[in-house]
Symmetry: C2
């Protein structure tokens, strides 16, 4: 069987195939890049119906990334999916505390999820940073609480937790109340590749 083996060609052809799914949406060229990369990462054009990008999200993210802002991930899979070499070129780095022993201990003691405890532990380090949540609705609920109580002030929330328990609700709350710009997908779908794809799309559009 013949198949394309050149990575650049694979990606270019993939983007060509995805483009027609987006023509019926009224998207900026930058939003097209975010939508395309999410659909590329999931193989699922239905995401075009689900993605919500706050009007200020891309400009805020572009400025922050160029200034070397850090990215705070709820789980290691999100961190692993982010192009960290590219991020380092801007001066930023990824952070994740899900495997931190203190966080695990606190989560156990309080009967909360580790990703929720991890967001608390980041504390004011989150200020000016980008939060990327690909797994845990509880992490997104917690970040929204920390913002509401003026404890932290990130510049952007990429909030795409996945699943059937709290994910849709946490993302509805994000859209309804967040004073911080966001990228999200409504409903149960989401996940680490969606979060990482969003971060990567925001970085890659700065190269052009």
């Amino acid at each position: 069987m013949q198949f394309i083996t050149d990575p650049g060609q694979i990606e270019a052809r993939s983007m060509e195939i995805i483009a027609p799914y987006l023509t019926k949406f009224d998207l900026s060229p930058q939003a097209v890049k975010v939508f395309s990369r999410i659909i590329h990462a999931s193989g699922d054009p239905d995401y075009a119906n689900l993605i919500r990008i706050h009007p200020d999200a891309i400009s805020v993210a572009s400025k922050a990334l160029k200034s070397g802002c850090n990215i705070f991930c709820d789980v290691e899979m999100v961190r692993t999916g982010i192009n960290r070499r590219r991020l380092a070129e801007f001066g930023g780095q990824t952070n994740c505390l899900i495997a931190d022993p203190e966080v695990a201990e606190e989560a156990k003691r309080l009967g909360i999820t580790r990703s929720m405890a991890a967001m608390r532990h980041f504390g004011t380090a989150l200020n000016g940073g980008i939060i990327a949540i690909g797994n845990a609705p509880t992490a997104l609920f917690e970040v929204l609480r920390l913002i509401r109580e003026n404890v932290v002030s990130p510049c952007l929330i990429i909030g795409v937790p996945v699943g059937f328990v709290g994910a849709a609700e946490s993302k509805e709350l994000l859209v309804a109340e967040s004073p911080v710009p966001y990228i999200t997908v409504v409903g149960n779908k989401g996940g680490s590749p969606i979060a990482a794809a969003s971060v990567n799309a925001l970085m890659y559009m700065l190269d052009k």
Copy 2:
């Protein structure tokens, strides 16, 4: 807003919500666990229509995992999503060569993907192991070639590459010609969380 913060409760409730999506399929209790965990990881019940499990896949995997078999991943995100502590309890470990400098050099020289070169580099280490491909169709095509040419003999292929260029075709070929038992999802969807969820489901069913 009230929400569940206990990880055990979140997972149990999630599985309860997923169960009704599976009643119309004729699945073994073990297959239900694989289906459920994939849907849990993706937030997408449509996977129930797409998952294909070879009749021998679960028994072969159970035996191999209990014997401490290793798992070979195409990308780091798959490895990161696998419960490696649980795998280590059985005596197995995860392997991934996508970031290996020799693999990168060979891929560049031959004009192929790094994940394809990585599968070649594993060579006979793959024998008796479980291959988990969550990203790259080219890696799956390459593994099928290596098996066809009697170079390697893994015990199971979890082949769920994602995307619009080769993913569906590689998975069709897996179902059509693989002499090795497999778990796959037909079509463009797939991804690292699907691969990792499959591995984790296979491990978790051994605890009960």
